[in-house]
């Protein structure tokens, strides 16, 4: 069975070690790092608004979870 899927907002699943910076470098090549990180965070408020893992955790300071959906483009108009 086959069917055409319409275009939806592009997203990725992060790897366990991913941070905003590593995703920015991989997915937004050519965009200056600070700008790319800022763009990613603005496109992913469902992740960026959450508290980072606390000190003492192996994930200390990280917001992104391995199960998250991370958008790599802006919302479609």
């Amino acid at each position: 069975m086959s069917a055409t899927l319409s275009a939806v907002r592009r997203s990725i699943f992060p790897s366990a070690d991913d941070t905003w910076t590593t995703i920015a470098a991989r997915e937004l090549k050519g965009t200056p790092e600070a700008e790319a990180v800022s763009l990613l965070q603005s496109w992913n408020m469902h992740v960026f608004m959450r508290a980072a893992a606390s000190m003492g955790s192996p994930r200390a300071g990280k917001q992104i979870l391995p199960s998250d959906v991370i958008f790599v483009e802006a919302p479609k108009a």
Partner: protein, 560 residues
């Protein structure tokens, strides 16, 4: 002689085909004849003027704990529900090592708003494995149970504390696969996971630390059994929900398994979003995937008092923090402290439109009874204050036992909800039965389906509504011989009045272990509920103790 004959009813058999007049005969727990039955039954039910349908199946509940002290899942059974699916949202009560019990109680308390004291006083912890849990609840069931195993539980068992900190190693993945097989062999209907929930310390639940490799590893096991995957997506964001639909669709196609996600709400601020999600669901079904959105029938009503944390305040940290982590006195002191109170009120300016229409539903003191049933706007006017201050003052006067109702918070555009419910790829569910017991009643959604969406908005036919909550559910969840009134099928049956079935008013009852209370609704228009060929409840005789519910789909190789 037959064991049971239901005479002269309108048989609506769950297939969606038009109802017809007939008798239904039962022997040995199964339907043996439908038509004119001359033979007498040991027990007979007069269904003249009533509908005879398959028992309803509720696919999204959290009865995991309640089933340990109440094998009827009261009052779900009285609403015509003959099968419940607990273990949703990555949380089940097994497999669970003894040392993790209180950790899990904390998660149930945070996520499903189930009081710790109910677990402390109502649960005898005498199991660890899924098999032991199933045997434990199976001893005393009067309703059927199709339990999911929670992904967070698999992680907690295998990875211990690391389950909340990191992804799994390859050996841990293999151990989780072995454990999932054991649960499915013992009778788990599938696996549940969550992408949104937090534990009692507001850390992500273990399932959220899983990467794609882990989800695929677990779906490989589900594929061996053809069992279902249930998820809780980020339902408040349509784009993320669409990404989850795509994720589920890929898993469904790759592993040949059914998947379902819950909830999906129609709210004023997301109606376009629901349309986009459903468009994607349709596209993925056309591609060959099975991704069933679950939609609840009832509107969102939330009650709260400040004695227990309410998820209504989860986006208001200064309120939620003290409710979640503070003592009773801490909460009182926060409201008494002028500076803290001012800060809390300032933080909830986004709720300024909400406060005035909240309704005071119950208080303890005689002095404040005069305000019960009034909105906070009305009370504020009488007390010459603001609505939010009136709520706080009443809470102080009532030692935090002032109960307030936030009614019609969403999912209440009945034309749109009705259209969504009638969509062929929408799965009616998400009742949350047994959970959120101090926030709202999770009983009567099936009655509301008929009263609101069959009789009122006419979004569905009687036969279409019955099909949605019987054979559709049995097919989606892989429950053989259930969901239809056909010869040879198990006799799980509801007898009800088509023009009367409804949910009764919500009320507060003290019947939770530990002298706890909860909101419930009684059934209206339901006459008799039959489980496995025996009457489990009837309007005239109440609960009966001769019906024997079973665990579905049951042990692999065993008989359900």
């Amino acid at each position: 002689m037959l064991d049971l004959v239901i005479r002269n009813g309108l048989v609506v058999d769950g297939s969606g085909l038009p109802g017809f007049s007939a008798d239904v005969g039962v022997r040995g727990g199964r339907i043996v004849k439908i038509g004119h039955i001359a033979e007498a039954g040991h027990e007979e039910v007069d269904a003249r003027g009533k509908v005879v349908s398959p028992g309803f199946i509720d696919p999204h509940t959290h009865f995991d704990a309640q089933l340990l002290w109440d094998g009827y899942a009261k009052p779900a059974l009285t609403h015509g529900v003959t099968t419940v699916v607990p273990g949703n949202c990555s949380l089940s009560l097994a497999p669970l090592k003894a040392k993790h019990r209180m950790k899990l109680v904390g998660m149930f308390n945070q996520i499903e708003e189930m009081p710790n004291i109910a677990f402390e006083t109502g649960v005898e912890w005498n199991w660890e494995t899924f098999d032991e849990y199933v045997k434990r609840i199976g001893k005393d069931l009067s309703i059927n149970v199709a339990p999911l195993v929670g992904h967070s539980l698999l992680r907690l068992w295998v990875m211990e504390d690391a389950s909340m900190e990191r992804t799994a190693t390859s050996s841990e993945l293999k151990a989780m696969q072995v454990l999932l097989r054991q649960c499915l062999d013992a009778g788990a209907v599938g696996l549940s996971t969550s992408f949104v929930d937090m534990d009692e310390t507001l850390k992500p639940v273990p399932s959220r630390l899983a990467d794609q490799e882990e989800l695929h590893a677990l779906c490989e096991v589900l594929a061996e059994y053809g069992r279902i995957l249930q998820i809780v997506p980020e339902f408040y964001d349509a784009d993320v929900t669409i990404a989850r639909v795509d994720q589920l669709a890929d898993l469904s196609i790759q592993y040949g398994i059914p998947t379902t996600f819950s909830p999906l709400f129609v709210n004023a601020d997301n109606s376009n979003g629901v349309d986009r999600v459903m468009k994607r669901v349709d596209e993925q079904f056309a591609r060959g995937a099975r991704v069933w959105p679950q939609v609840q029938t009832r509107p969102i009503d939330i009650s709260f008092c400040f004695a227990v944390p309410s998820l209504l305040f989860i986006r208001s940290p200064s309120w939620y923090r003290v409710m979640r982590f503070g003592s009773h006195d801490d909460i009182l002191n926060a409201f008494r402290n002028p500076e803290q109170r001012k800060k809390m009120i300032a933080e909830t300016t986004m709720l300024n439109m909400l406060w005035p229409r909240l309704v005071l539903r119950q208080v303890k003191t005689d002095a404040n009874q005069q305000f019960v049933g009034k909105t906070l706007a009305e009370i504020a006017e009488l007390r010459q204050t603001t609505p939010v201050d009136a709520m706080i003052d009443l809470s102080l006067e009532e030692d935090l036992d002032a109960h307030v109702l936030a009614g019609d918070m969403g999912h209440n555009d009945y034309a749109r909800v009705g259209a969504l419910l009638s969509h062929p790829r929408v799965h009616v569910g998400a009742s949350d039965g047994g959970a959120h017991i101090l926030s709202f009643s999770t009983y009567g959604d099936t009655g509301f389906l008929f009263s609101k969406f069959v009789r009122d908005t006419k979004s569905l036919t009687l036969e279409g509504a019955v099909k949605k909550i019987t054979s559709d559910t049995a097919n989606i969840w892989g429950l053989p011989d259930r969901g239809l009134l056909h010869k040879g099928y198990v006799a799980d049956i509801a007898v009800f009045e088509a023009d009367a079935i409804d949910r009764g008013p919500e009320y507060y009852v003290q019947d939770v272990p530990g002298n706890g209370s909860r909101y419930v609704r009684d059934a209206v228009g339901v006459d008799t509920v039959i489980v496995g060929g025996k009457v489990a409840w009837s309007r005239t005789s109440g609960y009966r103790n001769d019906a024997q519910g079973v665990v579905l789909p049951g042990q692999v190789g065993g008989a359900a």
